[in-house]
Symmetry: C2
Subunit: 469 residues, 2 copies
Amino acid sequence: MASPNALTSQDDDFPRWYQDVVAKAEMADNGPVRGTMVIRPYGYAIWERMQNELDARIKAAGAQNAYFPLFIPESYFAREAEHVEGFSPELAVVTHAGGADLTEPIVVRPTSETVIGEFMAKWVQSYRDLPLLLNQWANVVRWELRPRLFLRSSEFLWQEGHTAHASYEEAASYARRIHLETYLDFIVNVMAVPALAGIKPPRERFAGAINSLTCEAMMRDGKALQMSTSHELGQNFARAFGIVFQSEDGQSEVCHTTSWGASTRLVGGLIMAHGDDRGLVVPPRLAPVQAVVIAVREDNDVLDACGSVNAALQRAGVKSVIDRGRGSFGRRVTDWEIKGVPLRVEIGPRDLANQVATIVRRDDGAKVVVGLNDLASTALTLLDEQQAQLLALATTRRDEATTDVETIEDAIAAAQSGFARIEWRHLGESGEDQLNEVAVSVRCLQRPDGTTPQNPDEDNLIAVVAKSY
Amino acid sequence: MASPNALTSQDDDFPRWYQDVVAKAEMADNGPVRGTMVIRPYGYAIWERMQNELDARIKAAGAQNAYFPLFIPESYFAREAEHVEGFSPELAVVTHAGGADLTEPIVVRPTSETVIGEFMAKWVQSYRDLPLLLNQWANVVRWELRPRLFLRSSEFLWQEGHTAHASYEEAASYARRIHLETYLDFIVNVMAVPALAGIKPPRERFAGAINSLTCEAMMRDGKALQMSTSHELGQNFARAFGIVFQSEDGQSEVCHTTSWGASTRLVGGLIMAHGDDRGLVVPPRLAPVQAVVIAVREDNDVLDACGSVNAALQRAGVKSVIDRGRGSFGRRVTDWEIKGVPLRVEIGPRDLANQVATIVRRDDGAKVVVGLNDLASTALTLLDEQQAQLLALATTRRDEATTDVETIEDAIAAAQSGFARIEWRHLGESGEDQLNEVAVSVRCLQRPDGTTPQNPDEDNLIAVVAKSY
């Protein structure tokens, strides 16, 4: 008989497996308004860990947090032509407030380039005010016709960075720094996801950008997920909003701006990059709970020992909790597996008599019997090993599902189950059209060595082609 | 000649002084949509410190963070009669989204009792699921006709806690715990604001509550500011949303719920509780910047010494920065005073020759010349002293501006410049009417010993009466 927590298997129906994990790991629920999302405490704890890690990197890059309004006058969007065209179909509009109809409709922000541009123009006067490096943690709204929890929701949470610089080179260099040192570093070294770093082909850029840098990760079904983007906005928004400065030699010049963001979509990426048929797998460095201590039988001596072990783990710096679950031991084990907690420490009466406990790894199920005195140090080692192992396995899966091809037909064939790499000059926009017709797209352009190009005109660029979320 | 940063004095025009401080300390700006607010990096850094302190206390009280949608179906509000009546005039309504008119209008949340109630009903089945203790950090919208930055803005940031319990007693006890251990503790011991803790008289309760606990602080103009509220919601929302559970003996019972919140209004309270004619005064435990190191003259040896001193302060755990300001030494000193940074460390060539520096306290301007080797330990002592001193001074100001009275006429007279205390049984609702006619109100009811009563029917309660923000 299937356990009440049985998940659909990934091979049977990957989208259904994803829904099952989101529900049964108690990550999120659908909100009452179509496309909105309730993030439950366990899902939110993972998002809080992502926020902490990203926020530290953003501050290390010199940006300061601020907060700009949710409501933007509709007229602001009209000032940048590509921007308004790109976002208009997704906007939610407030027409009534405080008991009266509004004279000018108000847009609920889908992103904040426009309103932040307005204030940058006020705050920037001189070259001494540059660079201006801002970030905000906020909710944004983009109306979704086909919503999926975390991946595409009408409201989502994110950070959006916005910066103004004195020159094209400085702006491009800062966007690249965020792309590599904030996003790619977090995604690879904390999430253990071997994302590809590159730039978007021109037609896939953000509405209003002159260049968009992206981190693209492979999910376990071989599809791509865009994990973060960093945009060079050139002088488009600076001209539209009048972000000008007096240069060192007294000239009036137009700023070069950037914007960059990562969202609760990363939680969806985590689920699909590492999850397996037993549920979520959370890499130790990201996990809000790194170890759970479970009594195999709930007698007082065993519970006391669980308390001591939990305290010892916490003293050693492990984010450890004691299982307070209900139901059978087996059911509780299954629940923690679904939540993807990296280590499970099991203690029973016989273990206690022998002064040992069993540590079970979530990734490969390996069991280690360890003396209670050595337990914390062993746990730390196992967490490090698991972190490295998850990245290594994901890298192997990615590389095995990536094919170098020379024709569009072969690219489309390879994209049915993974990534295809094809020379960008063999593809071009007509090639992109052919791909798009069968729901395949260019995820990013990379240099042959896998690094991020400055622009799509560099020689010998490789297009990474895939189906995507 | 007035310096470019000259502030209006508090005595001349307190509201103007407040606006000046908000602008010149670079705390916030008005947003483009009426009543909205841009929180600038320094204002946001103070809010982040408030968030960190409150969040730690909320988690210590066992509540878990989650996130519920910004958008709530309009029909949800109609389910609790007092709630819809209280909030309808302030709602912002989305009528158009994704390029089409909506069939049911959507409300932008003014508070989340309704949508969280809907999900509590799904998640609570049995007494074992209780208490359910949730919190969220979010933006909310309440349309304001007379907005003031931080104090009354159409959009503000806050945390809102929502809990469900098996009994009236447990709910009341939890609301009281949050009121005292989360809010009052933070306000008194971190913000150094000697707020009064009490309950609201019935007509001042939150829309839908059976009891509202409040922390009320005195501003420097003698007016009151509500710093936080914690509401016992009884079974009103639980009945409206069907939050029911099976009790230990198998009966179906209706939950008792609470909600509690504190917002960016606290930043306004900070400004007005401690600020003086030289600007903001931030208590050391709250300050995002506790010390600034300034070179009296920018020669290389002095700048090197500033770097060493800054590093030593940071190693000692002081949140220290080096001044990177522009303009004259005097101008930079003024700028840091306006921002209310607790300690200013000044180093000049002569100081360096003598291996000393001057530490200047923001609160009373006292200067201490200290050897460079002792500087960090002296700074720590001065920070502790300043924290204690700010609370002591604010307590003295509050007590000196509080008058015990016996008649409504005397209460109104005393409320022109401070708080009046009058026996609640001498006042009653007709007395409240008389107060309200002259813009005075009952801020809270307290026991004679200053503690928070269980309900307004206790004997011998004292009503604290004041003008308020």
